[in-house]
Symmetry: C2
Subunit: 482 residues, 2 copies
Amino acid sequence: MIDLRPVIFIVGLLLSTLGCAMLLPAIVDLAFGNEDWIAFAGAAATTLFAGMGMSLATRTDDARLTTRSAFLLTTIAWIALAAFAALPFLWTDPGFNYTDAFFESMSGLTTTGATIVLGLDFRPPGLLLWRALLQWLGGIGIIVMAIAVLPMLQVGGMQLFRMESSDTSEKILPRAAQIAGSISLIYVGLTAICMLGYYVAGMRLFDALTHAMTTIATGGFSTHDASFAFFDSTSIEMLSVLFMILGSLPFVLYLRAMRGNAGALYKDTQVRWFSITLVVFIIILGLFAWGNPEVDPERGWRHVIFNVVSIMTGTGYASTGYDNWGPFAIAFFFMIAFVGGCAGSTSCGIKIFRFQVIFTNITQHANRIIYPNGVFVNRYNGNVLPDHVSASVMGFMFLFFLVFGLLSAGLSLTGLDTLAALSSAASAIANVGPGLGELVGPASNFKNIPDSAKWIMSIGMLLGRLELFTVLVLFNPHFWRS
Amino acid sequence: MIDLRPVIFIVGLLLSTLGCAMLLPAIVDLAFGNEDWIAFAGAAATTLFAGMGMSLATRTDDARLTTRSAFLLTTIAWIALAAFAALPFLWTDPGFNYTDAFFESMSGLTTTGATIVLGLDFRPPGLLLWRALLQWLGGIGIIVMAIAVLPMLQVGGMQLFRMESSDTSEKILPRAAQIAGSISLIYVGLTAICMLGYYVAGMRLFDALTHAMTTIATGGFSTHDASFAFFDSTSIEMLSVLFMILGSLPFVLYLRAMRGNAGALYKDTQVRWFSITLVVFIIILGLFAWGNPEVDPERGWRHVIFNVVSIMTGTGYASTGYDNWGPFAIAFFFMIAFVGGCAGSTSCGIKIFRFQVIFTNITQHANRIIYPNGVFVNRYNGNVLPDHVSASVMGFMFLFFLVFGLLSAGLSLTGLDTLAALSSAASAIANVGPGLGELVGPASNFKNIPDSAKWIMSIGMLLGRLELFTVLVLFNPHFWRS
């Protein structure tokens, strides 16, 4: 049997942290004289009570976190955090049922950015801050997880990012704590710089804070229904582009750069490919938009750059109704949503390194076809790429599209039209945010889809964020055998 | 340098065969007193002249067909055959330009079944026979290629189907000739039985012949605009289901069964998976259609079985406007189109064995995650599955979806709406036939899409039929180095 005590202990600690975080919107709403502070305080008390109770009940000295309990921990933690983070939504908005609240909090924690809240511009600051905080906490959570936990779990090729060959399960906690410390400092620093930039560029202080949080987390929640179109400012949009990109690069490289290895960022093959891909996508869509009457010619390139970066990094801000640019643009945005950023960043999707691994394998296959007796060694970032890592990556890709297909089929069954079903499934699994089309497009909102569709999307967001295998391995009967 | 003489020699022989085949519709049209016989006779003369000229000019005694020339041969042969097979379309229909004619002949030879011909019911028999003949010849061509050529070329995992480890390029021609002989007999036999069945079930003799040809080839060309809805007969549809399935199984197994190994078909893992998948798909869609008012309740299961088999095997007949069954059915048909039949059959798509290989690899990955030090050996049909074959298969899958994405984007750029672009791209690469939606759905026709879209689809059909790598390897610079 798997020892559940350390799992519950850590989930308890995480919930307690979440409970403390709920006090921030409570204080803000209290300061602004808004009644919602009671809901936040109540949710904080509930969450703290549950979290501390779990931790106290399972405190033990001889607990070891095995690989299997790490899998359980990851999945349970994410679900439990979303379940409690939903309480403030449930208790502040009479129009929300628990499905809506869970959808919103899962969308926040997974940095997806799909929203159910209508009329953001008229909402009290506590709720808006809570949405931003969820994405911000989810963002740092996912970075720490991608650096410290996933490589050890060998999920979908993430073993490429093991720091040392001696990584063992016993070291997870101390390592996670140590990395979380340094990376969190960088994360806070980047958020502060971004906020300052937004403020100087003309945002109100509150907007600057909340948007800085959701930008660096590549989350996409805004405090305005019109998203970035509300500000209509070139400098704000270009700042956002910069920090969405910074949020999509591997955060360990910032650590290395701070420690004197300034070339680390420049030399990393994943960063290079990500940059090139982004530029190519911008050029393609830019050339298309150039002659397109739907795109304002004055602002064509500005909108192209902003929205390509926003969708490819999985942020999900919109500076204009880009889904009105015609079928090519729709197909284009649909596809780049799958790409995502780098491993070890806040962005989601398939991620650049997986495309690199697959490209390497296709090249090798094409060469082997021509020289059947030749020996070709695959490499990644200068190191030999073992076949079993390639197999993991390709298994991941296949599972990704399989899950995408099942999510689309499920969403269709709930009555969504084809474009809405396909784009919502893609948006959930790649943690992007908006779908495409009238019902769920960037100008719309997920409030109007059926409850069953909201649960399907919540599952999709969780699976996408946890790299599929982390969750699905729990359904393997072998997992539960001793 | 690659010795082009044997390539041109064989292409010449194939063209000469095609030229002879053109005499059949010429004779039929002459017998029915239709003027089109002149166009067919002219096309036959042109094709025979070109083919025999090519063969005579390159006849040599010391020619060897190397692996590289086999790649060139496969691609060039398919393009050349389509280019000449287009002539009768161009010369009999004043509404056809060469783009239309090439599209129709490529759609025929690749057994796709997407058509540009309007008003099939009022067309002279020569033209209708020519369309059926093209699919029938394409069908046997692809079987022989899949058995004799592709395994040696090691394309996309087809090396799994090598007959002996001693296969070398020198043996291609005699082996191809030997296999082509036995398999062709079986192919002719199955076609004859199918024709007899259709005739007994109530088709006119001409319809029975042409539909038997396009059924066993899983092609999908009909002699009526309404496709199988024209006959509206349960027995005809169930006969068609049987022979579409027979066309989707590996033809070598029929050879083994004829030679006394009757269990070969039953024991083959690919046949088992194909059957199970088909049944599961029918049940899923059947349960969906059960409560759906768009589906005639009297005929629900009949239409479900017929159209699922038709789309999954890549045939493309329609017994009803199944794209009016709502968004779930559309998404469902869209996805099963990718699946396809077995390797070594006339059907196209990704093919069952690739899903098996990937499933095996995902299971292995999931087990390795749980037991990082365990040793797991992948197997296929009882034999060890080498890692490089898995890599080939997964490389193929990825390239398949990449090409699908590029085709969709290209089709969108020509102005097709999103559903039409996505479904036409899927239909082309998986050699299915009809797309989805008003413009290109089963009730419609590809006549109305722009010329550029027709060329993009022709490229897609060719790539899909030749398992992508066979064509794309020609663009690898290594291919052309000595």
